[in-house]
Every structure is written in C-alpha cells, then in structure tokens.
Amino acid sequence: MGISISNISKSYKNVKALQDISFDVKPNELFGLIGPDGAGKTTLFRILTTLLFPDQGTATVAGFDVVGDYKEIRKNVGYMPGRFSLYQDLTVEENLNFFATIFGTTIDENYDLIKDIYVQIEPFKDRRAGKLSGGMKQKLALSCALIHKPKVLFLDEPTTGVDPVSRKEFWEMLKRLQQKGITILVSTPYMDEAALCDRVALIQDGRILQIDTPEAIVKHYPKPIYNVGSNNMYQLIISLKDYEFNHSVYPFGEFVHYTDSRTDFNPKELRHYLESKNLIDIEIEQTEATIEDTFMELAK
C-alpha cells in the first residue's frame, strides 16, 4: 500500500520539471522529499494525486495506477497542498464536515484519527477558516486531509515559513499518524527535517540526487569535513575561499564547514595560512557531515 514511481518525466514548455524520476515508498513509511523551491516537488505530488498527467513513466499509489485508476486513488489518499486551499468563508467545523461528506463519511466515524489535532482547533470551530492563524490553518488542513482515513498521506511543504516550535510539533503529529498505519510522503525545504524521516530523496532541478536513510546519506559524505572558526566570520570566509586547496567552504552556524582538495590535508598548514591573514582565535576541528553538506556536495 505504498507508492511506486517509475521513470516519471514532466515538462512545462521549455522547463523540465521532472526528469526520469524513479523510487518506491514502502507501506507505512515516512518518506521525505527534500529540496529547494523549484526542484519539482509539487509537480511530483500533483502527478501522484492524479491532478496532473506525467509526460512519460508510470506510478502507482496504494496499488492503483495514477492515470487508469485515478478515482480509486482519490478515495484512498489525503493531500495537503502547499498553499492553504480550504474554504476561507466556511467555519472550521463546516470545512471539516464538507470534506467528510464529499468522501461519504462523517466526522464521528473517523474522529479518533484526527482527535489529537482537532482538539487544538476545536475551541474555534465556529470561526471562519480565513480568520485563523497560520498554525491553526495548518492543523485544520491536516484534519481535512485525514477525515476519510486515507491509506497514503501527501503533505506538500507543510512546515514552510513555520517557526521551529510549530515545526517540531507538526513532526510529532506526523510520527503519531505513521504509528496508526498511514504511509506518508512529505516534502520540505528544511534539510534538518530530513533526519526525522525513515528515508529521504534529495531532489534538485527535477532530478533525484540521492535516496537513502538519513544516517546513510550522512555517512556517505566523501571527504573529511572540518569546523573552522575565528574572530571574524566575514574575513574567515574570504580567506578560506582564497585558499588554493579548498574544495568547499560553507558557513554553518558559528563555524565554516571546510573540506580540502588534497588527500593528505594537514590542519596545521591551514592554521598557519589563516594566521597569515591576521585572523585570531582560530579553531580547526574535524566534524560530522550533515544532510545539508551532502546536498550541497551533490548539487555542486
């Protein structure tokens, strides 16, 4: 009851939105599609939810073909688009009732599935959806996507523009939905959220860069990576970029992640070089790669 995608391509005029995409999402897996705006994430979601035909390739969702069996898919999946798309002038309760009725069910019948989420917005059930805060809209949209007890849930950038606290809470909700047996495909531009998925696909410019567990993706980073710090971040970045042996130089929080192009890199040499650039308080220490390091290395 998962998702299977084979050689899907899609173009708009002269833009290749998706190029020969293939991967499977296992039943009950929490699978992340990680990539920036314009990577093709939404196009793939629209194809899988039967709202768009692929130019080439095939895909099945919960065992149904996205072209031939589109009616079955629509009954069996929940879809939360990136843009808020509920009825702004219906109340919270009316929206939920509306979606339940469309799918031939009632709020009561599947209440246990949405209870955790819905209780948080229930105090405002008579408020129009258009008047809700961003966080509450997101919870209502998720409730509406779940009300017919879908087998597969599609969430297109549910946490974009959301603060870290609300993002954390949203992921905790997803984990609980997964425990109830739902297969989840979720997209996000936040690389740190990749670590919360069972497996992820890194996507950019319509191509899959890598698919694996978050742990394996990080482990396969090809080079030793160093945290470099100093008293002046801007001068440090400029100096490292000027260093003839640099392979990559990316600011990461209070440090710069540095990799060297040589195999016999000696941190002492780099220290001398940075000292010659009048930097002080220099720190150089080997560190672990992150998903973002891997993404940038692959996207280079």
Partner: protein, 268 residues
C-alpha cells in the same frame, strides 16, 4: 551616531490585544541583528513600526536618527527593505526593476546607470539582464532583490525572512552578501526561521508573546540557556502555548506532546 536603531518601551495594541508589548533594544552601526520569534509573536508588527508604516500605540523609537511618529517619510528614504513575499516586479526585466527602484529612491539617471551596470556585473546577471524577473530561479531573484534594497546606500536594511525556500548553496551566498554589506557599515536587521542563520548574527533577540524575552550574542544565549545550538535556545524559550489558544488547553496540549514521543526529534 553609533546607534542606528533605538527602541524604548515600544508598544502596539489592536483593540485590547497587545501585539507588541513594551520592547526595548538598540542596534549599532554595521551590526547584523537577528530578530526572531515564533509565528504570531509580534515580529512583523514590530518591524512595521520600525520601517514607518504603522504608528505605535506608545513608546519611543528612532531609526536612522528619525522619529517613527514624526519622520516616517525620512525613515523610508534612509532604509532598504526586502521580504520574501514582495521584492521585485516579475513582469519587469532585471534592468527595468533596478531602474524602477533607483527612480523611486530618487537616484539620478547617471547614478542609476552606474549602479545598474555594477550590480549586474557583481551578480553575474549579464546574460539575463533583459529577461523578465519572473523567469529567474528563486535564488537569483532573492540575491537581486537584496542588491536592489541597497541601491540607495541605506544606513539600514530590513530583511523579512529573505531566504525561505532557497537552496542551501544560494542561502549561503546570500549570507555572504549580508556579511559584505555589514562589513561596509550597513546595519542589517533580519528575521529568519532558519536557526543556523541566527548563529550568523552579531546579536539576536527572541520575541515571545509580544515581549523580547532574550537578547544577546548567539554565544552568550547558548551559555545562558545551556543549549547546544540556537535551535535549542529557541525551543526552550519560545515553547509557550500558542497565544491564540485558551491558556489551560494550550498547556495540556504541550504536555501531551511531550508524553507522546520519546525525544524531541528536532532538538538533536
């Protein structure tokens, strides 16, 4: 004049709801100041008062030396502003956008021409200078719009979530532009939801329910809250019930979350 933003007891009320609750802080020349907070904490309302488009209910604020009550128009001339939501006109070309914004800020034709050429060269946009901005990738647009926000050499530039959705390489190039501007003396006032970006700031303030609950360098904030990263600081501080929810319920909801999962997945 070393302090380019001075705010004291600044407050904004909508009816009986206090959106910004007596905030006080200074920002120094050339500083990169991170203005953080959860959605609905009051950041946008505070920023609107500082850029001269919303009148405070009470309190004092000067921006670039001008009073927000009496000299809002002078403030607008002396600051740059860029947000993720609105930055450039998609149906004007790169050059037209630069010319338009240069004109708005009263630059002479000669100056606009110079600026335009320098800016296009610096960003490597020579090949697309006559293309519509709408056809450019998001990352290019954001870098261009930052440069356009600086076209009139403002003392301060306000950036409202400038990097949302941008790929990680471009996001870093963007921050290098911010460092460069700050290094040349421009003050940068920035909001972001990326907590690694909070670490790039000289000082950071965190708003919770209309108040500034913490303000210091990222390093000192991490010490103060015994946290490993700014993300942890943020979670410790901003993890109060949503202001829109009745208090009792909000607290209960929070507790359920903690019991429902083994550990905080984003905190590690």
């Amino acid at each position: 004049m070393n302090k380019v933003i001075q705010v004291e007891g600044l407050t904004k009320m909508f009816g009986d709801f206090t959106a910004v609750d007596a905030i006080t802080f200074d920002v120094k020349k050339g500083e990169i100041f991170g203005f953080l907070g959860a959605n609905g904490a009051g950041k946008t309302t505070a920023m609107k008062m500082l850029i001269g488009i919303s009148n405070p209910t009470s309190g004092k604020a000067t921006v670039a030396g001008f009073d927000v009550y009496t000299h809002a128009e002078d403030i607008k001339k002396n600051i740059g502003y860029m947000s993720q939501k609105f930055a450039l006109y998609d149906d004007l070309t790169v050059k037209e956008n630069i010319t338009f914004f240069g004109g708005i800020y009263g630059l002479s034709r000669k100056r606009i021409k110079e600026k335009s050429e320098a800016l296009i060269k610096e960003l490597g946009l020579e090949k697309v200078a006559s293309q519509l901005v709408g056809s450019l990738p998001l990352g290019w647009k954001q870098k261009l719009s930052f440069s356009v926000a600086l076209i009139h050499d403002p003392k301060i530039v306000f950036l409202d979530e400038p990097t949302g959705g941008v790929d990680p390489i471009t996001r870093r190039q963007f921050w290098e532009m911010i460092y460069k501007a700050a290094n040349q003396g421009t003050t940068v006032f920035v909001t972001t939801h990326y907590m690694d970006e909070a670490e790039y700031c000289d000082r950071v303030s965190i708003m919770v329910n209309g108040k500034i609950e913490a303000l210091d360098t990222p390093k000192k904030l991490k010490e103060q809250f015994q946290a490993e990263s700014m993300n942890d600081v943020f979670l410790k501080l901003a993890r109060s019930p949503s202001p829109a929810l009745p208090k009792g319920k909000g607290v209960n909801v929070g507790e359920n979350y903690n019991n429902g999962t083994k550990s905080s997945p984003l905190g590690s």
